[in-house]
């Protein structure tokens, strides 16, 4: 009967799947997508012989999962897409301290003083624009200028997006809560268009819905890689403006890990020249170390340090305050 056929197929599949779980030495929870992470994992496994099982998911949901699992978590490593998530886990006491030599040599914009996690790659906030409808004279010099009349209804943003929220946290740090709230309300009154995330914003510029968007630097190169005629470009605000915030994708070892040595080795690997080269060459993100070959599409290392505001990554963990502000502004 059909039913027994289906049933036996199901049992067979279950049996096939069972060995998968127990095989690996390390378990990684990755908020980063499979296309980014897989090649690096493969390289690591080849270099060291340590096998890694990866759980792919949404950065935030995996962070919530880790909180729910607590000390019972089977995970050894967490790779998150922004500082907020990592800060949250650090505050909850779920992260293990890393050996100091891992992050000692890194520039201040990439280090966390808590020693609980480290940046694996940098992503700069930029503004994307439509070269067809925006001339260079119109470029905003600072992100604060976007509340001006001339930008009415032309700017896109994503208040629910993690990178945007980290950016707001940085803005609060540097300019205070009041000015940040003022800017948020100003943007809202000026008709800023809400999108769900970064890639839909970039698409929105191409579609003609908005002329400007506040996004991370690496989305556009990815669109361009599959479609060289894509009608969007991007630029930085003036040097040091908060709109140029360099956020990070970070890696951390979990307190609940049962093989801390191997986990730390993975972290070291991510900071090695080979991995950093991959991040900048294939993923269009900024490396955290100097000894890599420049990707011509990106600013070089020193230029990035000039362009970015000086923010302490640890202070970016006050997400609650940011969410409260966004709620006060009626955006969440």
């Amino acid at each position: 009967m059909q039913k027994s056929l289906f049933a036996s197929a199901a049992v067979a599949a279950t049996l096939l799947a069972a060995p998968l779980a127990s095989a690996a030495d390390l378990t990684l929870y990755s908020g980063r997508g499979e296309s980014m992470v897989e090649p690096i994992i493969a390289q690591f496994e080849k270099n060291t012989g340590i096998s890694v099982a990866v759980r792919y998911g949404d950065t935030a949901q995996l962070a919530v999962l880790l909180q729910e699992e607590g000390s019972r978590s089977p995970a050894d490593l967490y790779w998150g897409q922004d500082a907020g998530a990592l800060g949250e886990l650090s505050k909850a006491g779920l992260l293990a301290e890393l050996p100091a030599d891992i992050y000692e040599g890194l520039p201040t914009i990439y280090t966390s003083e808590s020693g609980n996690w480290v940046a694996a790659s940098g992503r700069a906030r930029v503004f994307a624009y439509s070269p067809e409808r925006v001339s260079e004279e119109e470029f905003p010099e600072s992100v604060f200028e976007l509340v001006d009349e001339r930008f009415e209804g032309r700017v896109g943003w994503a208040p629910t997006n993690g990178s945007f929220q980290s950016f707001i946290t940085a803005m609060r740090l540097e300019h205070g809560d009041e000015r940040t709230l003022e800017w948020l309300e100003g943007m809202k009154d000026n008709g800023a268009v809400t999108f769900r995330n970064n890639s839909t914003q970039v698409q929105g510029i191409a579609d003609g819905e908005v002329d400007f968007a506040l996004v991370n630097n690496y989305y556009l190169p990815r669109f361009l890689a599959s479609d060289a005629d894509f009608p969007v470009e991007q630029a930085f605000f003036t040097d040091g403006d908060i709109g140029n915030l360099v956020n990070v994708a970070g890696i951390a070892v979990l307190e609940s890990s049962d093989d801390r040595e191997a986990a730390v080795e993975f972290v070291r690997f991510l900071l090695s020249p080979a991995a950093q080269q991959y991040f900048t060459g294939n993923v269009y993100e900024y490396p955290v170390t100097r000894d890599v070959i420049q990707n011509p599409v990106l600013e070089d290392f020193d230029r990035l340090l000039e362009v970015s505001p000086q923010i302490d990554l640890d202070d970016l963990d006050d997400l609650e305050g940011t969410l409260r502000l966004l709620r006060d502004a009626g955006l969440l």
Partner: protein, 535 residues
């Protein structure tokens, strides 16, 4: 002439309501208790988390005016989707069961395939229609305004949920006895009056069941709604979990959603108070198919429009992604393995859900009682609860009671079955309502035990309903996301997870082969099972 009356209720001592009806066999009671008990897990979890709340923050975060606005938005959306899906599903069901339209089987299959389309793919497809750089603009140069907001969300949701209603209506229409309507006509009722007074009341259970499933789905959906930039209540829940990394106030929001869902469930049972069953078919008369005649010129354009929108659009967007930047062949090579993993979990989940839905359906139809109602309602809890909350509840529960089960395939299958039990329950219960208890009683009196009665008497009659239930659950699990993220064994990536991780990083073309696999394979399963239905 046919008669219908209420199924027999057990006699009880006057004045004292009996909680459990007399004589419920163990093989029905036990699974019902297990299912109801399982649904307690997420409730207990949410209660525990909610208990940690601080009252000032609670007022600030949960009971604020904006949440009320989001709630109203969601209700408006649900109303819109219910209306639109009825407009879509009813004519289709009528055409397929009551008229002499050609290619009925093909039309039936096409009417169910949209279930296979993941919500976010449909949303992307609709979005791709408009905009200066959308698919339509690129292919034809026509630039339409972008579909979004309330109408975008309503359309997107309707296009892939109308099959629920279609399946229910089709079963109900096909099961209607022709004698009833013909008698009404012979008594002088016009066509319209016959429809209103005879046909429609008999269709109400099916309509209500379909509406309930769709409404509960709309309450919880986030993906398609967010892409359409419509601010629904799910937005608030998502922000709490994923924005604030918070489980305490998110639990409160989830409980609010469940309360709303329970209201709808209770409303449903209030309206469908009478339980109908046949006691004698007399001379059973299937309805004669009405000739379409000139109405054909209305019917076919309608059908073409419906299927172009619900199936053509997603296919177009997937083809577009694939052709725009063809991904490496290696991606295509990955699809079979991922597909096996998806199906290898979805199929057991579907079978498990159906296995539990059967006894529960019996309980609610043959042994009606407060307990039965409670069990039925608890099945809807699993369906209505935000999947992320359900997954977290299972994480909490299994880590503390059965750690060896944590992040195993078994856990994923069990949780999927819990989330979709209500889906399987619908068709099975509808099928059961159309059968007579006297056949089972006759089998018992002839000495057949429960298993024998089941295989020889019950299963053949319920086969269509059971198959429908299995297919519905299977197709839902093939595209499920949040529960998979949290509970699947690490490394056990499914098609849906792969599609998500690639679209979220903007790699739409890489996602296309996997999304296509979901749609194709689910459609094949649907088609296969529908054709094996045997009618």
């Amino acid at each position: 002439m046919n008669q219908t009356h209420q199924t027999s209720t057990p006699r009880r001592a006057p004045g004292f309501p009996r909680l459990l009806p007399r004589g419920v066999p163990l093989h029905i009671l036990l699974p019902s208790l297990i299912a109801a008990g399982a649904m307690l897990v997420p409730l207990v979890y949410l209660g525990l988390r909610a208990f940690e709340a601080d009252s000032a923050t609670l007022l600030d975060l949960v009971f604020r005016p904006r949440n009320l606005q989001l709630l109203l938005n969601t209700l408006a959306l649900a109303a819109g989707v219910v209306a639109l899906t009825t407009l879509m599903a009813f004519p289709l069901a009528w055409l397929v069961t009551r008229t002499d339209i050609r290619f009925k089987k093909a039309l039936t299959v096409l009417g169910v395939i949209p279930l296979a389309v993941p919500g976010y793919v449909m949303a992307y497809a609709l979005i791709g229609l408009g905009g200066n750089y959308g698919v339509l603009a690129q292919l034809t140069g026509i630039q339409l305004p972008r579909l979004q907001g309330y109408w975008g969300a309503t359309l997107a949701l309707s296009l892939y949920t109308f099959p629920y209603l279609f399946l229910n209506l089709r079963a109900a229409l096909a099961g209607l006895d022709g004698n009833l309507e013909e008698s009404a006509r012979s008594l002088g009722y016009s066509r319209g009056e016959t429809f209103r007074r005879v046909t429609l009341p008999h269709l109400m259970p099916a309509l209500m069941a379909g509406w309930l499933v769709i409404t509960l789905y709309v309450l919880g959906d986030f993906g398609a709604v967010a892409l359409m930039r419509y601010e629904a209540f799910s937005y608030a829940i998502y922000t709490q979990y994923s924005g604030a990394f918070d489980r305490v106030y998110a639990a409160w929001l989830a409980l609010m959603l469940l309360a709303l869902a329970t209201c709808f469930v209770m409303l449903d049972s209030l309206v469908v108070k009478r339980k109908l069953a046949r006691i004698g078919t007399g001379v059973a008369r299937p309805m004669m198919p009405q000739p379409l005649g000139r109405a054909r010129f209305l019917a076919w354009p309608y059908l073409v429009a419906l299927f172009t929108a619900s199936i053509g659009l997603p296919v177009m967007i997937l083809a577009y992604w694939l052709l725009l930047a063809p991904p490496d062949l290696s991606f295509f090579a990955r699809v079979p393995g991922t597909l096996l993993r998806s199906a290898g979990a979805a199929l057991p989940a579907a079978l498990l859900a159906a296995a539990f839905a059967l006894p529960i359906a019996f309980l609610t139809v043959r042994y009606r009682s407060p307990f039965a109602i409670l069990v039925e309602r608890s099945a809807y809890i699993g369906y209505a609860i935000p999947p992320l909350a359900l997954a977290l509840a299972m994480v909490f529960f299994s880590l503390r009671t059965a750690p060896f089960l944590y992040q195993t395939l078994a856990m994923l299958v069990i949780t999927w079955a819990m989330a979709s039990l209500a889906l399987a329950l619908g068709p099975i219960r509808s099928a059961l309502l159309q059968t007579r208890p006297s056949m089972e009683e006759a089998a018992h009196s002839l000495g057949h035990g429960p298993i024998s009665t089941f295989t020889h008497v019950i299963f053949p009659r319920l086969r269509r309903g059971i198959l429908a239930g299995v297919v519905l659950v299977f197709v839902l699990c093939m595209k499920e996301l949040p529960i998979t993220f949290l509970l699947a064994p690490t490394g056990y990536t499914t098609l849906a997870v792969t599609v998500f991780t690639r679209t979220s990083e903007g790699m739409l073309a890489e996602a296309a082969p996997f999304a296509a696999a979901i749609v194709v394979f689910s459609s094949l399963s649907v088609g296969l099972l529908l054709t094996k239905e045997g009618k």
